[in-house]
Each structure stands twice: as structure tokens, then as C-alpha cells.
């Protein structure tokens, strides 16, 4: 077995893959975004706040944030992915909600729901993180009151190396691999998503936390610029770049 020495795309251990972000890409939605990192791409559309149906799910004290993650049938690395909500998609939808909810001012919309739909046209690892990053952008584009921005990235450990933003070939490396998706709030620096798949020790995990947080800041810059691209007013020189 070969030990892991160098990343196949020549990135340093802390480099993210190339990113692209755009907001307002889906005209019918109240807010929308596209986010691409390497060969993983996500669309997110926000509908709402709108009346929560079925009615028994309404909450008179606060609104509900409802996220749905879905891979397009041709978006997997191998065979066709069957459409519909499988167990994996349901779990990712749930952790997506939890990753974003802390920054959404949901109290302002009693009896209502804010729906976020995420669809991925192609994936190459890190798809839930790309979905969360796109979803947070789409919520901002929809004008949903938010206390902070959310940026998400997976980090991992391959053999003894800690690295940022794994791609598929790295996740599938034959040696010891762990993959840990994170999400962070930009202002508070707090973490809103943590999952883990594979063996890791506590010390490495804490180091990965720092690496992921630093990487999330780079993603935040891309998100901020996407919003500025759409909302920057001509001649508005006060906007900090």
C-alpha cells in the first residue's frame, strides 16, 4: 500500500479547489444561488416565508426552516442515482437545516415555512458542504433576516496528513482516511455542522477545526463577492471589498 504523499491535483494541504458562486440564478425562486467547488456543484432555491402546510406543522411562535438535499440522477461518480429521498438524502437534509438554522431569524415568521431546495448536477465529494454554502447564499439572496453567514467545507486525515476540501479520489484512498464536514458562522466563529466518517484522534480533530475554519473564511469571501456582484449599487464606494 502506498502512503499518501501528494495531492493529485497539486494543491497544498490547505488549498481549496477552485470556487465559483452566483446568486439569483433561478428566476421563479424568492432567492437562489449556485456554488461550485472543484467538480462539485450545487443549486439552491428559497421559497418563502410562505404558509406552512400541512397546517398541523405550523408553529404559532416561530417559523420553520425546511431544507431538502437532492442529487440529480446523473450527478454521482458511478451508476445513476435513483431520484427521491433516500436515507442518506434525508439525513443530509436534516443536518443542513441544523447547520443553517442558528443564523436565521425564524422567530419573525410564525406559522410560516422557509423552504430551501438543494439540487446537485454533479458531485465529486463535499456535496453536503457545497449544498449548505449555496443554501446560505440563497437565503441571503431571498432577503431572509440572518444574523450571520454560514460557510461549509469538509476536512480530513489521510494516513498522517491533515488536509482541506477532499476530492473523491482522496476520500477513496486505500489507506486510513477520515472525512469531516464542518460549517462555521463567519462572525462568531462557531461551528454549526460536524460529522465524521473514519478514524480520527482528538488532537487531529482540533487541528482540523482550525484548518476548516480558515478555509471557511475563504469560502465566505467568495459568498460575499457573489452577493456584492448582484447587490452592489453603482457608485457605492462604502462597500468594503
Amino acid at each position: 500500500m502506498m502512503s499518501f504523499s501528494k495531492r493529485i491535483d497539486g494543491r497544498s494541504l490547505t488549498d481549496l479547489r477552485p470556487m465559483e458562486a452566483k446568486v439569483g440564478v433561478i428566476d421563479k425562486a424568492d432567492g437562489s444561488a449556485y456554488f461550485k467547488i472543484g467538480n462539485t456543484a450545487a443549486y439552491a432555491a428559497v421559497y418563502g416565508p410562505r404558509q406552512m402546510l400541512p397546517r398541523f406543522m405550523q408553529d404559532p411562535r416561530k417559523g420553520v426552516l425546511r431544507c431538502s438535499y437532492s442529487m440529480m440522477p446523473f450527478s454521482g461518480m458511478g451508476e445513476r442515482v435513483r431520484p427521491g429521498q433516500n436515507r442518506r438524502a434525508k439525513e443530509i437534509s436534516m443536518v443542513t437545516e441544523k447547520a443553517i438554522l442558528p443564523v436565521v431569524d425564524i422567530e419573525k415568521f410564525p406559522n410560516s415555512v422557509v423552504d430551501v431546495f438543494i439540487e446537485l448536477p454533479q458531485t465529486d465529494a463535499g456535496s453536503r458542504c457545497a449544498g449548505i454554502t449555496a443554501a446560505a447564499l440563497a437565503l441571503a439572496d431571498a432577503g431572509i433576516p440572518m444574523k450571520d453567514m454560514i460557510s461549509s467545507v469538509a476536512c480530513g486525515k489521510i494516513d498522517d496528513k491533515l488536509l482541506v476540501d477532499l476530492r473523491y479520489e482522496e476520500e477513496a484512498f486505500e489507506g486510513e482516511v477520515c472525512d469531516i464536514p464542518f460549517a462555521f458562522m463567519h462572525n462568531s466563529g462557531k461551528m454549526t455542522l460536524l460529522q465524521g466518517d473514519g478514524a480520527v484522534d482528538a488532537e487531529s480533530l482540533l487541528n482540523l477545526f482550525d484548518m476548516a475554519k480558515e478555509a471557511a473564511e475563504k469560502i465566505y469571501e467568495v459568498q460575499k463577492n457573489a452577493l456584492l456582484d448582484k447587490y452592489k449599487v453603482e457608485g457605492d464606494l462604502d462597500v468594503e471589498q
Binding site: 440564478v25 421563479k28 425562486a29 431538502s68 440522477p73 445513476r80 429521498q85 454533479q122
Partner: protein, 263 residues
């Protein structure tokens, strides 16, 4: 949104003067944008925009057992999905009747038109053939999903290369240079009847005012391989004739556009 009745009255009023909300001619499509290779994980893919309507089609190939009645032919499957992402009107859950109708009409055009040379997709008769899955996902619904889906399916098929085979295992990461065997091109064109007028490429708003529609999937020579009448209004022979003419002319224009992009 306007109620169906008042929307209809409003649009009909405009149409009597030969006007559309977006000032197009009745036989004029919105700007058509066709892009291929939009999904790195698909064996072939395309994005089609008709104005603000946007769909993505992706092709996945797999090895399967042929159907007993066609032991020497590859299999075909077409599925259009209307995800909640694309419209406030779309609900999640299993495919509704709209999605099923779009899928079946696109399927019939490709299947009956023998667009794919399925004989060349046979590895061992009765045992192993290629299965071609065409999935079309709507990104934004601003009307005429039918035509957008059919154009995207055709463009994605033309973009498709065969993955590498290792014995009977598909090695998806390695694409070969071999193209999917395509023998001819087909696209659907949908004509709507609103009052006494016939028009193409309706927006969502215009579709609400439609009395009836006819979709035909034709090749360049004008032969039709799939037909579907929709809507509530019955049609006379004269109306059918007018709709066929407009549909065939539209199909030709779309095929020309496809050729220009994919030549």
C-alpha cells in the same frame, strides 16, 4: 398570480391584436441557449434555456439484461423531474402527471424515431446490453418544459461518450472517445391554441390561458414520431392542420439551432 379566468381574458384580449406580453410574434420562440458538457459525472449532458426556462439533461449508461422482446437492442429510459427548486407550484414527492406526460412524450420521439441505434448497444444478445438513462431536471420553470426537455435530451445524447468497459464492469471514471450511436435527430415542438390563435413557446403565464395544445416530435424531413394532444378544447381538422404546420416549422427552426450549436 392571476386567476386562470382573468389571465385568459387578459391574454386573449392581447392576442386579438396579435400581441404577446413580451411582444413576441405568435410563432416566435424565446431566445434558445444550448450548452453541452454541463455535468462532469454524466456520460453526456446539456443545459437548455428558453428565455427564463432552464432544464439540464444528463445521460447515464449502465450494463443490463435486455427486455425479452428486444434481446438484441439496448434499453432506453427517459425521466423528467420537476423538483420543488424550479417553481413554487412544484411539490415534492413521486412524479406527478405532468412529469410523467413530459417523460413519455420525449421518450416516444426518441424511441419511435429510432434516434439511438440500439442494435449497436448489444454486447451479447439476450444477456448484456447498454441501458441509456436520460434524466431531465428542471431548474427554472417559466413554461414550455415539454420542448425544453426534448431539446435538452437530444443535445445530451449527442454529447454522450461511452464509458470504458472492464469485462462486464463499467469503469465510469474512464470515458472512451466512442460516441453513443445516434442515427438521426428529433425534437418536440408544442403549439397552443388560445381563443382563435395558435402560438408557440408559451411562458407559464401564457400556459394558464391555453385552451389546448398539440406536441409533435419530428425529424428534419418533417416525419412525425410522437404526438400528444393536451388541454380541454376539442380540435377541428382545420385547427389540427394549422397546428401541424406551425409545429413542423418550429421543429425545423429548433433543429437548425441545435445543428448550429453542436456541429
Amino acid at each position: 398570480m392571476l386567476s386562470s379566468k382573468s389571465a385568459k381574458q387578459h391574454l386573449a384580449k392581447y392576442l386579438k391584436e396579435g400581441l404577446r406580453y413580451d411582444s413576441r410574434e405568435l410563432d416566435e420562440y424565446r431566445e434558445i441557449t444550448i450548452e453541452t458538457g454541463v455535468s462532469s459525472t454524466a456520460e453526456g449532458s446539456a443545459r437548455v434555456k428558453l428565455g427564463k426556462t432552464e432544464v439540464i439533461a444528463g445521460i447515464k449508461l449502465s450494463l443490463e439484461t435486455p427486455y425479452p422482446d428486444t434481446p438484441e437492442n439496448g434499453n432506453l429510459m427517459v425521466e423528467v423531474s420537476l423538483p420543488s427548486l424550479a417553481s413554487p407550484e412544484y411539490e415534492s414527492g413521486p412524479p406527478g402527471i405532468d412529469a410523467i406526460e413530459f417523460s413519455r412524450v420525449v421518450d416516444r420521439g426518441i424511441r419511435e424515431g429510432k434516434i439511438i441505434d440500439t442494435k449497436k448497444l448489444c454486447l451479447r444478445p439476450g444477456e448484456k446490453v447498454w441501458n441509456v438513462s436520460i434524466d431531465i431536471v428542471v431548474i427554472n420553470n417559466d413554461g414550455n418544459i415539454m420542448d425544453a426537455s426534448g431539446i435538452a435530451a437530444m443535445a445530451a445524447l449527442l454529447d454522450t461518450t461511452m464509458p470504458k468497459l472492464e469485462g462486464d464492469t463499467v469503469s465510469y471514471k474512464e470515458k472512451t472517445k466512442n460516441r453513443l450511436p445516434i442515427s438521426s435527430w428529433v425534437v418536440p415542438a408544442t403549439v397552443h391554441k388560445v381563443g382563435d390563435h395558435f402560438l408557440v413557446d408559451l411562458t407559464c403565464e401564457e400556459e394558464e390561458a391555453s385552451d389546448g395544445r398539440l406536441t409533435l416530435a419530428a425529424k428534419e424531413d418533417g416525419r412525425i414520431y410522437a404526438l400528444q394532444k393536451g388541454g380541454d378544447s376539442p380540435l377541428s381538422k382545420e385547427e389540427l392542420d394549422a397546428m401541424l404546420k406551425l409545429g413542423l416549422a418550429s421543429g425545423k427552426k429548433i433543429l437548425a439551432k441545435l445543428k448550429e450549436v453542436l456541429k
